[in-house]
């Protein structure tokens, strides 16, 4: 029998957040994040979580409230999507710059204009350079598991950086799934109380976020970069500990789905991995050697581990729900960089799919794989409407 309860994703995530015992929760409504925050406000109002919940006047404020509370030494939580993430972005950089272990969920949604409330991963991708650790979940169980791990990683004194858990909008928070959540005792054992190294404290006055002239600024960035590199084994260590404690796999940096014996490997993030696995299963029954490397930890980017996992592949097929407009998909660009100056040099094709909530089907995935096996593709859009294929602009 499967362990757990049938829960809506948003409810499961909210319960998991509560199990992490944040002291301050601040958010602003935006679709499709709202359900999580509503559930949390109910949990707080019912007295089931001792926390301050404040529904502020915009995401910029929500992130700032979390920044302030975290600077005071509290464990905090926030959650947003799309334009909300963009509005937070000023503060997002402040949080990592101040080395404060804020944890948030980005419920992934496309970015305006035109206005679209459906899922893709453009919002969190824009913040890949912000110094936050980014973990992408495939399903609701994993979102919850990663949340618990996120606080452990963020608050680890060797890290002290914020973590963003990314969950595809609608596909996850609005869907019902059996989710197994730990009891409070087990959660507490895995995630002890937050012990800040530094905080704003009248007994011990300090200044945060102060002016750093050209003599100092660059070192702050160097330190974040070095810490992020060193946090790769810590992400793995926490995942291992999670798997041992809760007797459920947690993959750490990425999930390896038939990668080792495959000449063609798809690389993707998030919930569409389910569809990709179905496509791969079908192709494998036909004798094709195809696998999936599902990236969980996108920042820090685990270059060495990825190189080792993919060095024997002939074709790497990056399928992603974002695009660095004017260049290529963000993940494809990063993947290509890994193989620069190394022995292995697989062909790395990039495909952009499912923008603004367009359906991603098994056939779409198979098409991408087939195209990549035939020739190099830079940033090929899969699933465009035929009537939009203009002459000379080949889709």
């Amino acid at each position: 029998m499967v362990k757990g309860r049938m829960l809506q994703g948003a409810r499961a995530m909210a319960e998991m957040v509560a199990l992490c015992r944040p002291k301050v929760i601040s958010a602003y409504p935006i679709t499709p994040q709202t359900l999580i925050v509503e559930e949390l406000s109910q949990i707080v109002a019912d007295g089931d979580l001792e926390a301050e919940f404040i529904n502020v006047e915009g995401e910029h404020s929500a992130a700032s409230v979390c920044l302030g509370a975290c600077a005071a030494g509290a464990r905090v939580f926030t959650c947003s999507s799309s334009q909300g993430i963009l509005l937070m972005s000023e503060v997002i950089f402040n949080i990592s710059g101040m080395r404060l272990p804020v944890v948030m969920i980005c419920v992934n949604r496309s970015v305006s204009a035109p206005l679209n409330i459906w899922n893709d991963q453009q919002d969190s991708m824009i913040l890949r350079d912000s110094g936050w650790i980014q973990l992408y979940a495939e399903n609701n169980q994993e979102t919850c598991d990663l949340l618990l791990q996120a606080y452990r990683i963020a608050e680890d004194h060797r890290v002290m950086l914020p973590v963003m858990v990314c969950a595809d909008g609608y596909v996850l928070p609005h869907a019902y799934e059996i989710v197994d959540l730990p009891d409070q005792e087990k959660a507490d054992a895995f995630l002890p109380f937050y012990e800040p190294i530094y905080k704003l404290d009248v007994e011990n006055p300090s200044t945060m976020g102060a002016y750093a002239d050209p003599e100092k600024y660059m070192e702050t960035r160097y330190m974040i970069q070095e810490t992020l590199k060193k946090s790769i084994p810590i992400v793995e260590e926490v995942a291992r500990d999670f798997s041992n404690t809760f007797a459920r796999p947690s993959y750490g940096l990425f999930e390896n789905y038939h990668v080792d014996d495959s000449s063609t490997v798809v690389v993707a993030l998030g919930s569409m991995a389910g569809t990709i696995k179905d496509a791969i299963d079908e192709l494998r029954t036909e004798g094709e050697k195809v696998g999936l490397l599902r990236m969980i930890c996108y920042r820090p980017f685990p270059k060495e581990a990825l190189y080792e996992a993919l060095r024997n592949a002939v074709n790497i097929v990056v399928i992603e729900k974002d695009i660095s407009l004017g260049a290529s998909g963000a993940v494809a660009t990063d993947m290509r960089a890994i193989f620069q100056g190394r022995d292995a040099s697989p062909r790395i094709s990039g495909f952009v799919i499912g923008l603004g909530g367009r359906d991603v089907t098994i056939d779409d995935i198979k098409l991408a794989i087939k195209k990549a096996q035939q020739q190099f593709e830079d940033a090929d859009f899969i699933g465009l409407k035929e009537e939009l294929e203009l002459e000379g602009i080949d889709a």
């Binding site: 709202t34 406000s41 915009g58 334009q83």
Partner: protein
């Protein structure tokens, strides 16, 4: 004071020509008040004698924000909270236009709150129609900046504890030259008030109380739009010229409606022109 035409009756008024019927049916819930407010706005444009080709409707995000997509006017659906800065740019870029911001209380008073007070302070010549339904409708009924104390929302399941804005008071203090409040139960008065606001130079603000039966109403014992309309009828007290300080809205008790502010103050453009002229004169000497 205002150049109003002879009143148009409901039958004579051709709202359909004002709406993008190809976009119907609209997304608003049964019993929602936003449609009535759009109707009043359409008739007000006619009543004020404005050329629809010179009227532009700007909205932010939320249920009210959808109006921008339904009117046959130049319109723009901005991101959350940004209707006013967009409208400011539009008005400065083309001062000929009659720029109207049609949006909700969450958009205008929370995420766009800073823009609201500063636009009023500058007295830029815009008309703001603020649909107030006491919560964030589109995202599922969360507590917002106008939610009355003790009211239930999806984020205040046992009642709101945050003190809400009294919009007319805030706008009067910020420097708006025209401030009124009506409910969609007062379509005639609302229409007349919007028409006045449209021709009034300077920053005009019309608050429109509007039922949200799907969310706020359901959680506060008014599950039908009609229930809220009855409440408006029962609780509204028309008092033109009242002190906006007294316009607070509680969960119960009277709701003051009427015109609070109608003053003359040079608009941003007037002030700019004065300086330009002064400098020009100095240079020519």
């Amino acid at each position: 004071m205002t150049s109003t035409k002879t009143p148009v009756t409901l039958e004579e008024s051709n709202i359909e020509s004002f709406l993008r019927m190809d976009r119907m049916p609209h997304i608003w819930c049964a019993g929602c008040g936003i449609g009535t407010a759009v109707g009043c706005f359409a008739r007000a444009v006619e009543r004020a004698g404005l050329d629809p080709d010179k009227v532009s409707l700007i909205s932010g995000i939320g249920c009210a924000g959808r109006a921008a997509g339904y009117v046959k006017l130049d319109s723009f659906h901005t991101t959350h909270g940004r209707a006013l800065p967009f409208a400011t740019g539009l008005k400065l870029g083309n001062p000929e236009l009659n720029v109207v911001v049609f949006s909700g209380d969450g958009d205008l008073l929370a995420i766009g709150g800073n823009h609201l007070i500063h636009s009023a302070r500058r007295n830029i010549d815009l008309t703001v129609i603020c649909i107030n339904n006491f919560n964030y409708g589109m995202t599922g009924g969360q507590m917002g900046p106008t939610t009355p104390i003790d009211a239930r929302t999806t984020t205040t399941p046992y009642g709101n504890v945050e003190y809400p804005f009294n919009a007319p008071y805030l706008l009067a203090a910020s420097g708006a030259t025209y401030v009124s409040r009506w409910t969609v139960m007062h379509p005639r008065e609302l229409e007349r008030s919007i028409a006045e606001a449209l021709v009034k130079p300077g920053f005009s603000f019309v608050e429109v109380l509007s039922p949200c039966p799907a969310l706020y109403g359901r959680l506060n014992k008014e599950s039908k739009g009609l229930d809220t309309m009855h409440t408006y009828l029962k609780r509204s007290v028309i008092r033109n010229g009242a002190d906006p300080k007294d316009a607070e809205i509680g969960l119960n008790g009277p709701i003051l409606v009427g015109k609070y502010v109608d003053i003359e103050r040079p608009t941003l453009w007037d002030c700019c022109k004065q300086v330009f002229d002064r400098v020009k004169e100095k240079k020519s000497k």
